[in-house]
């Protein structure tokens, strides 16, 4: 068999096994619930019959192995069980709650990735090209700062910036500044687009309106993930530039731009793709916080609400989706780096 295909298949198998174990862990979450959980959910006035009925409904009265396979089988059919928020005669299926929100989250992640990945690669290549110049230093300083800020700080800073576009001139702070400074600051703030600070969307929102409404969350996430990707791109290219064949190209008299794009970049793809996938996976974590800040109806916000109300089936479904995406992205990164770099086939 082709060695590339074999390694790829091996990775796929490994990914499936990981997903299987992760699903067991997430599943056992429900088994670890404290015994009086049914009572706590149903309230103090619940009779022992209602408690028993509730336990039967969430299936706690059957053996765990059987429950696990039923759970997995149902999930493969798109049935994620019913939320604890459902009442008799009014079943709220987890899949129904999640579906529109999953679309919203994917939308946000896709917009962010479309902006962030080309931006990070471009900045990284430019920084490597003009390394140690003012551009490189500026980009480095800015990315180092955004990398160590919590997401919600970046998010609120942006929201504050957009809001102070309207409130700045009237504020006490502006009054205390010299007139010309306040005026020019106010003029500069006027250049800030009036992005919506609340991303309230629903199924009827038209496409471009949706894009407009996720602008601020997308910018926040972009700022957070670009830093890492850009630094990695820069490091990978600079690392390549130290090799003899680049010296050869340089001696042939090729322009730096051609050297970087045609000679260094193709060999630097493996580390770059890995870090891009890693950061897209990181989006999953960032998305939770940012969705809460901008009240965006995505799956992250749903999960946080479910954790607060201890709605375990919803938490499980969200966690499984997040974990599966995470594993999948890492798997794709592995496969791409094997495919683009045959040297990885022979680990030492």
């Amino acid at each position: 068999m082709n060695p590339v295909a074999r390694t790829v298949l091996e990775r796929l198998g490994l990914g499936l096994i990981t997903l299987f174990i992760v699903s067991i862990i997430i599943f056992s979450a429900i088994a670890m619930l404290p015994g009086d959980f049914a009572k706590a959910t149903l309230g103090q006035s619940a009779t022992s019959e209602t408690v028993a009925a509730f336990q039967r409904e969430i299936g706690i009265d059957r053996p765990p192995v059987e429950r696990y396979f039923v759970w997995v089988a149902q999930m493969l059919h798109g049935d994620f069980g019913s939320s604890f928020a459902s009442r008799t005669g009014y079943r709220r299926s987890v899949a129904e709650i999640i579906a529109p929100r999953l679309y919203n989250t994917m939308f946000l992640a896709a917009v962010t990735a479309l902006v962030a990945v080309p931006l990070a690669l471009g900045l990284g290549i430019l920084a490597a090209l003009y390394r140690n110049g003012w551009f490189d230093r500026l980009v480095n300083a800015v990315t180092l700062t955004t990398i160590s800020f919590p997401e919600f700080f970046v998010a609120y800073m942006l929201a504050y910036l957009v809001i102070s576009r309207d409130t700045f001139i009237g504020s006490d702070f502006a009054q205390s500044l010299p007139h010309w400074l306040a005026a020019s600051l106010g003029w500069a703030l006027n250049a800030v687009p009036k992005f919506p600070t609340l991303s309230n969307v629903n199924e009827q929102t038209p496409f471009w309106d949706h894009v407009w409404k996720v602008a601020l969350p997308a910018i926040t996430l972009t700022l957070v993930i670009v830093a890492h990707m850009m630094r990695m791109t820069r490091a990978a290219i600079i690392n390549m530039l130290a090799s003899p064949y680049i010296d050869m190209a340089r001696l042939k008299g090729m322009s730096p731009m051609v050297i970087v794009l045609r000679h260094a970049l193709p060999n630097a793809w493996a580390p770059i793709v890995t870090v891009v996938a890693f950061n897209l996976a990181y989006l999953i974590v960032g998305v939770v916080v940012v969705e809460v800040v901008f009240v965006y109806p995505g799956i992250g916000q749903l999960m946080v609400d479910a954790v607060k109300s201890r709605d375990v089936p919803v938490v499980q479904a969200c966690a499984l989706i997040f974990a599966a995406t995470y594993i999948l992205l890492n798997l794709i990164a592995d496969i791409i780096s094997i495919a683009t770099n045959p040297r990885l086939l022979h680990p030492r």
């Binding site: 809001i163 499980q316 969200c318």
Partner: protein
């Protein structure tokens, strides 16, 4: 540091630990100095919170969301508690919880990691595979799942985050431990019949200290940000305990009116993580002698 033990003949030439630290500090770049000053300031405020704060941690005044004034330097929060006081107590609570979590995570991660490095074989296999699986779930998501089961008390918060975080500590300490565990002096200690605990504490640990200390700083940042994020989401440190993450959330509406107050606790978090990063960066350079290609 300790890996460069000078031979006995030049022992007297060796400067004491204090002078060496002093010369290292003298050579430290501005960013490191900035970081050290900020960290010392935070610790000072955190330890003396009780004496510095103008009011009590949960003392409620009549006016909620009061503007900045002589009486309330930074205004009041959504329940009418003094913001400055909450910020100061927040330093104590947030930093103490993060430090406790990081310490626990290191205690677990380092001891298991070094044990795995020393023993190899089945123990190493089991621990490493378990860590692989745990690391395949994003830790914030895993923490959310566990918190939904065990509830958000401070104890469960510390234990959950510490255990999730110890996976990374385990990987690092196992990797650096493996390099040391094959050394002759470890072999000698083993032949002498020393126990695993003694070998880890006396032979391996002193030789893997510098990377672990640097990692401690980075892990602290990570834990600190995770706890802040969880508290911000409302599933971390619960009220009425003052905490920066939840303070941002509770007062976020003020931003809509162009008030910067809710940004202050978030800024406090950001400043501390940046400072710790600066110091760790300098420490790594100073101890490893590595200069990354610039």
């Amino acid at each position: 540091m300790t890996s460069f033990e000078p031979i006995a003949a030049i022992q007297r030439l060796r400067r004491s630990r204090a002078t060496r630290a002093k010369t290292a500090l003298k050579k430290a770049p501005f960013s490191a100095w900035f970081g050290i000053v900020v960290i010392v300031g935070y610790v000072f405020v955190a330890v003396l919170a009780h004496w510095i704060a103008p009011y009590g941690e949960t003392q409620v005044f009549s006016e909620a969301f009061a503007p900045w004034s002589q009486e309330f330097k930074l205004g009041t929060d959504q329940l009418g508690r003094d913001m400055l006081t909450r910020l100061i107590y927040g330093a104590r609570n947030t930093i103490a919880i993060a430090v406790a979590t990081t310490l626990l995570s290191f205690a677990v991660g380092v001891s298991l990691g070094l044990l795995a490095a020393l023993h190899r074989g089945w123990l190493d296999q089991i621990l490493s595979r378990a860590v692989d699986v745990l690391m395949s779930i994003p830790s914030l998501i895993f923490a959310l799942v566990l918190l939904s089961i065990f509830g958000s008390s401070i104890t469960s918060l510390i234990v959950i985050i510490a255990l999730l975080d110890s996976t990374r500590v385990f990987r690092l300490s196992r990797a650096v431990g493996l390099n040391v565990a094959v050394m002759e002096y470890v072999e000698v200690a083993r032949l002498r019949g020393e126990g695993a605990r003694w070998i880890i504490a006396k032979e391996i640990l002193p030789n893997v200290m510098p990377p672990l200390v640097a990692e401690f700083g980075l892990r602290f940042c990570f834990v600190f940000l995770t706890i802040a994020a969880l508290s911000f989401l409302g599933v971390g440190i619960q009220p009425p305990t003052a905490d920066w993450g939840s303070m941002v959330r509770e007062n976020a509406t003020l931003i809509t009116y162009g008030d910067v107050t809710p940004l202050l606790p978030a800024g406090a978090i950001a400043l501390l993580t940046v400072s710790v990063n600066f110091v760790v960066d300098w420490f790594l350079h100073a101890t490893s002698g590595l200069r990354d290609e610039k």
